[in-house]
Subunit: 428 residues, 2 copies
């Protein structure tokens, strides 16, 4: 057994597949978002424009958010100093959980150190506590939800993405008596499409199933108070567990669930990934709380984000770029090849000072590699024009396919080399 | 299927077993550590002394650490804004990883959002990448390591805690050719005992096994530069993967591994719990980096911690309290009953203004419930005297057993009711 060689080969396999990832070393500039300093591997520094941030509303540089963070750190120190149970429960965290419960109009909330951990810990714990539970998981669920499903060790069935008929077939076959947990997302972040939440809730009622929704790419951005798509669609009270994050539109860090007192208390009491981990620092809890409160009443960030996302979609489509059919603020542009996707990203950064990370497998299915663009309220019309020009230059230089993208994630080509990409049937 | 009732019953089961946890709502006071404000459930506020913090050296309130945190947040904003791969790699995090690699004299380091995630993600990923891997896990390994072992899906065998003969038997039986990963801790945090690291490394060499050590309760506190027990014992270069945390002695948040370039790169590239999660905010990375650099050269915190821990052990033992035989800064006092342990903790807080959380199952085996005391450099001799008096009062009021604790975690009683507690043979 040669250990070193084994790991070297594992890395080499990624290079061969053209999906070895190189992280861009960035220094964001508070007050100048979406600008950042990029440090290239050769040591050179350059100011660039970030077009792929999940700080969707720029709240990470909101002055009141930063001020809550710094003043709390000055008053209470850097870290929490312990797990939630052993001296780590800090008052800003208690306040944050009340704020989150109020946001989603649920009895209780529980904060985790990340959205990944919240999904993994909550799904696995809830499913384990239900006798003979069957998990019904949407085919395109996020890796963290899949980790939760696997971690539970219970039976699971994958339903075709957003396919209500398939979900109903599976629910019917399981029967009304068996414990069933439907897990799905509101906004699917790599495509920008939205789940039919109300109809899923109807099916859950009909077949006596529990519902768990991931709203991480929606909280802060949809609904009158920024509680997400469930709020926008008027169905918050029909979903048993709503999971969200403070690390994207709220601009800070950490994940959470909101639900009934009993469910939150059960996860709090039984989930190892919650129990045995240091609590979120008071400074981050205070910053998140400030951001959530701000977005409960301020509409301007949401309105501007929608406007700039729409502008971006229209301009790129008008230029013949293969914009995928997104219903949300997410603007994916299809490349459908891992090597070309990386090359396009590199050229954007090096030639145009535009940073958009290539999205390759395993984040998206093979053959659907893409550039995923996330316009924020702070990407103004001038920046959008510059982005469009740069993309057109890259598409032409690399000979990428232009055209429109159909529902099967296939480019209906207008020029360039023909390319095709289909979602594989398996997943979840 | 009644979902609500199922979760209510799960909570009720914990109450029946006297291990339902209530979190103390604390507000630490930077500059006055270990003092904090405690908010009781009836709304009353009271200043108390924290005696169970994992901010072992008080670095969470170190002025240069807080200043690094606040100045970085002001310059770069609150959150990281993305995963490591998608716009979240910030320059302070890159610097932190270099600092950690240097600390442990390894080729590379990788930061996670928590120590729990670092163990879960790294152990499971390393074991999965090794063909037909066998994990050999110490019986008392932390829940996060067990999560990593389980998550890997590979075969595992549990060796009796710190038992070299048992470990050698298992290694020999597996044979030199099979891939073997030995996972263990340096300081076991609930007992304060230390692993025989050098001898474990000898066995690993003899039978061609890989070694993975968790140093979370040692980094910052042992070794000339605070790299942990491996540094103190001169065996850093003999362990393949050293895992640590920034959330305890370094006073901030987050976990990490350090290892060879190939192993770190493999975990970076293959671990879902790393790939699909938002990066640590630049402010926390800068704060952690400052703390690590400080403790690389400053010895006073380590010296004072050892002195105050020793003082505490001696004074409590002299008062007849059942101090468990710890070799480190951790001072566990045995109660050996979950209900009495909770009552002792409540009385300390309410009557004496001293906060020490009860440690019950599943954090420790049933029958070994304890108060776990962590003296820091800032718990002065007067505070130690006050603690001792308060504990004696509680022990006498509740009729708890005094005496000494033998190697089997049994109280050799001197007075009071007889009580016994043994480690169960299973675990890991």
């Amino acid at each position: 057994m040669n250990y070193q060689e084994t790991f070297e080969n594992a890395i080499e396999a990624l290079r061969d597949e053209k999906r070895y990832r190189v992280f861009a070393d960035l220094e964001r500039i508070a007050g100048s978002f979406p600008k950042a300093i990029w440090r290239a591997e050769n040591g050179l520094e350059r100011e660039i424009t970030v077009w792929c941030s999940n700080d969707y509303l720029g709240m990470g540089q909101n002055k009141s958010v930063i001020s809550a963070l710094t003043s709390t750190a000055e008053a209470m120190g850097a870290g929490a100093g312990g797990t939630r149970n052993i001296s780590g429960t800090n008052h800003p965290l208690v306040q944050l959980e009340r704020e989150l419960a109020d946001l989603h109009q649920k009895e209780a909330a529980l904060v985790f150190t990340s959205g990944f951990v919240s999904n993994e810990a909550a799904i696995s714990t809830i499913a384990k506590l239900l006798p003979d539970c069957l998990i019904l998981s949407d085919q395109l669920n996020h890796a963290s939800m899949i980790a939760g499903v696997r971690g539970s060790g219970v039976a699971k069935q994958v339903w075709r993405h957003n396919d209500l008929e398939h979900l109903e077939d599976l629910l019917k076959a399981a029967g009304n008596e068996r414990a069933k947990l439907i897990v799905f997302e509101s906004v699917y972040s790599m495509d920008g499409d939205v789940a039919p939440i109300e109809q899923i809730a109807d099916l859950a009622d009909k077949y006596n199933a529990m519902t768990y929704i991931d709203e991480v790419h929606a909280v802060g951005m949809y609904g009158e108070r920024g509680a997400g798509i469930c709020e926008r669609d008027g169905v918050m009270d029909r979903i048993d567990v709503i999971e969200g994050t403070m690390a994207k539109a709220f601009g800070v860090m950490g994940g959470y669930i909101t639900s009934s007192q009993a469910i939150v208390d059960a996860v709090r009491s039984y989930a190892p990934g919650f129990i045995f981990t240091t609590a979120l620092p008071p400074s981050l809890a205070a910053a998140a709380c400030t951001s959530i409160r701000h977005l409960k009443t301020s509409q301007i960030e949401r309105d501007m984000q929608q406007r700039q996302a729409q502008q971006t979609k229209e301009k790129l489509a008008a230029a013949g770029l293969p914009v995928m059919p997104s219903q949300t603020h997410i603007v994916p542009v299809l490349v459908a090849d891992p090597d070309l996707c990386k090359k396009a990203s590199d050229m954007l950064l090096e030639k145009h000072g535009i940073y958009i990370q290539p999205i390759n497998y395993p984040t998206v299915p093979r053959g659907t590699e893409r550039l995923r663009i996330t316009p924020t309220p702070l990407h103004d019309d001038g920046l959008i024009d510059g982005l469009c020009d740069a993309l057109v230059d890259v598409w032409e230089t690399l000979g990428l396919t232009k055209g429109t993208v159909d529902a099967n994630c296939r480019i209906v080509a207008e020029e360039g080399r023909p390319q095709a990409a289909l979602y594989p049937a398996a997943g979840g």
